[in-house]
């Protein structure tokens, strides 16, 4: 990954600002982060750096002096550091510090806020299409409950009463599960720290949500899950990614039906998550466009064109990769690759 035309950057300070910089800069191919320094070994940015295989040090003179650094980004907020850098930086290096680096930190925060807004907006726009699915899934158990209750009113056989009452309890539970799933999905992604998320459970949860959004008529489901597949990330965001990819797959098979395949695989420290359809496919020249914001081939109300854009944002934030293989009229496969995480006990977050 090392190109000679990469700008070599050193980051000083591994607090929240340093960590946000890491997250942002490591996604930019023309930047090479040569290292990050902090006095505090427990600083949050240092853990992130380990995860990204970026060198960590406490030795500032070495970091700025010996690695051909071209840009020093000081987010320590420490005036002494600012003064030290002015006096000791290599002549070829530029410094970003003081108010300039504070401004940068503000911009990064602003951008991540906008990102979250966009995510939420897209999610809410999609929920409009849930009405039919929700009505179906709530009114069906209600029909059962009503029918059983009517019959109970006339039932004389105690055993039958008992059985029907239990059926009603089950139907009520199913109905309330629908509301729980949907509120969990529609709420704003909680900003909590990344946790280990069980992928197979998350895919199943997404499947339930996606069923509200689009009808799975004539769609056959195939699951090939490897037990224990887990990645580190925000569970709400990951759910959002899967709902989007599954919904797209189902939309692609709307005309003729087909097979939806969900596959997870752990291999060599990586998790592959594959979502395949046998639908309409994507023309090769369109593939670069599908991740652009507002690119959609769907009718208004059905597509926003923001789905894959948001998927891509989340996946790169999680240090993952996304690839697409597609053949017109044969189908598409979206593959996500993440570093494997240790499965968590309460994996289904």
């Amino acid at each position: 990954m090392e190109h000679s035309d990469q700008t070599k950057v050193a980051i000083l300070g591994a607090g929240r600002g340093g960590r946000a910089l890491l997250d942002l800069l490591h996604q930019i191919p023309s930047i090479e982060i040569v290292g990050i320094a902090d006095r505090d070994p427990a600083a949050p940015g240092l853990q992130r750096a380990h995860a990204l295989h970026i060198p960590v040090t406490a030795n500032v003179p070495d970091l700025i002096g010996n690695h051909g650094v071209q840009l020093i980004m000081d987010v320590t907020g420490n005036p002494e550091m600012e003064a030290y850098l002015k006096a000791h930086k290599p002549p070829t290096a530029d410094i970003l510090s003081g108010s300039a680096s504070r401004l940068l930190w503000k911009l990064i925060q602003h951008e991540s806020k906008l990102e979250a807004e966009l995510l939420q907006a897209e999610k809410l726009a999609g929920i409009g299409s849930f009405a039919a699915g929700i009505a179906h899934d709530i009114n069906n158990p209600l029909q059962l409950i009503l029918g059983l209750a009517e019959s109970l009113a006339e039932e004389r056989d105690l055993a039958a009463v008992h059985e029907q009452a239990l059926d009603i309890v089950e139907a009520v539970k199913r109905t309330s599960a629908i509301c729980r799933d949907l509120t969990r999905y529609s709420r704003r992604a909680s900003p909590h720290e990344d946790v280990s998320v069980s992928i197979n459970a998350k895919l199943d949860e997404a499947l339930k949500i996606a069923r509200y959004a689009s009808s799975f008529h004539d769609i056959e489901m195939l699951k090939q899950y490897q037990p224990g597949a887990a990645v580190k990330g925000n569970p709400d965001e990951l759910l959002h990614v899967f709902v989007n990819l599954i919904t797209n797959a189902v939309h692609a098979m709307e005309q003729a039906g087909g097979t939806l395949t969900l596959e997870t695989r752990v291999l060599g420290g990586q998790v592959d998550i594959r979502i395949s359809d046998t639908g309409c496919g994507i023309a090769p020249e369109k593939i670069p466009e599908i991740f652009e914001p507002f690119f959609t081939t769907k009718a208004p109300g059905k597509g926003t064109g923001l789905g894959l854009y948001n998927v891509n944002t989340i996946v790169s934030k999680m240090h993952g990769q996304i690839t697409v293989e597609s053949k017109v009229d044969q189908g598409s496969t979206f593959t996500l690759t993440f570093p494997h995480a240790q499965p968590n006990q309460e994996g289904c977050l």
């Binding site: 009114n139 069906n140 209600l142 029909q143 409950i145 009503l146 059983l148 009517e150 139907a171 008529h217």
Partner: protein, 144 residues
């Protein structure tokens, strides 16, 4: 149970007529069946439009089926497709739509296609039975 208008016998029991319930939810079929059996109807089940078409085309059903109750949102041949098929191939069988999703446009279009009733789940047993009774009357008229 002596005053059935057109009572005939199926498996030794008095029968007010034969109804086919088409719904992908086994629970719905179960509860509709229970409700209608109480009123003396013989109830057949199908889990989707394809099965419904198979059912009506098999054996004696072709002649013996009186009324069909059909959901809209179903896998395989969905309700709307099944209804179109039944209207053109078995125009004498009255249709009742029983759906979880109230959609006025759809209701209008179905009623225009000659569907006798458009019921939204959850529907009370009494209402369902009277819709079926009305449909049975239509069936009688078609037989004359």
């Amino acid at each position: 149970m002596s005053d059935f208008k057109s009572g005939f016998f199926v498996g030794g029991e008095a029968c007010n007529g034969r109804v086919l319930v088409v719904d992908d939810e086994p629970d719905i079929r179960k509860v509709v069946k229970m409700t209608l059996q109480k009123a003396g109807y013989d109830v057949l089940e199908a889990e989707n439009g394809e099965k419904a078409i198979e059912t009506i085309n098999s054996g004696e059903n072709r002649l013996m089926l009186d009324v069909m109750i059909c959901d809209i949102r179903m896998p395989k041949v969905n309700g709307a497709e099944a209804i179109a098929y039944f209207r053109s191939n078995y125009p004498h069988v009255p249709l009742i739509v029983l759906t979880g999703f109230p959609d006025t446009d759809m209701a209008t279009s179905f009623l225009r296609q000659g569907v006798v009733d458009y019921l939204v789940k959850p529907v009370e047993g009494e209402k369902l039975r009277s819709a079926v009774a009305r449909a049975m009357e239509q069936r009688e008229l078609a037989r004359l």
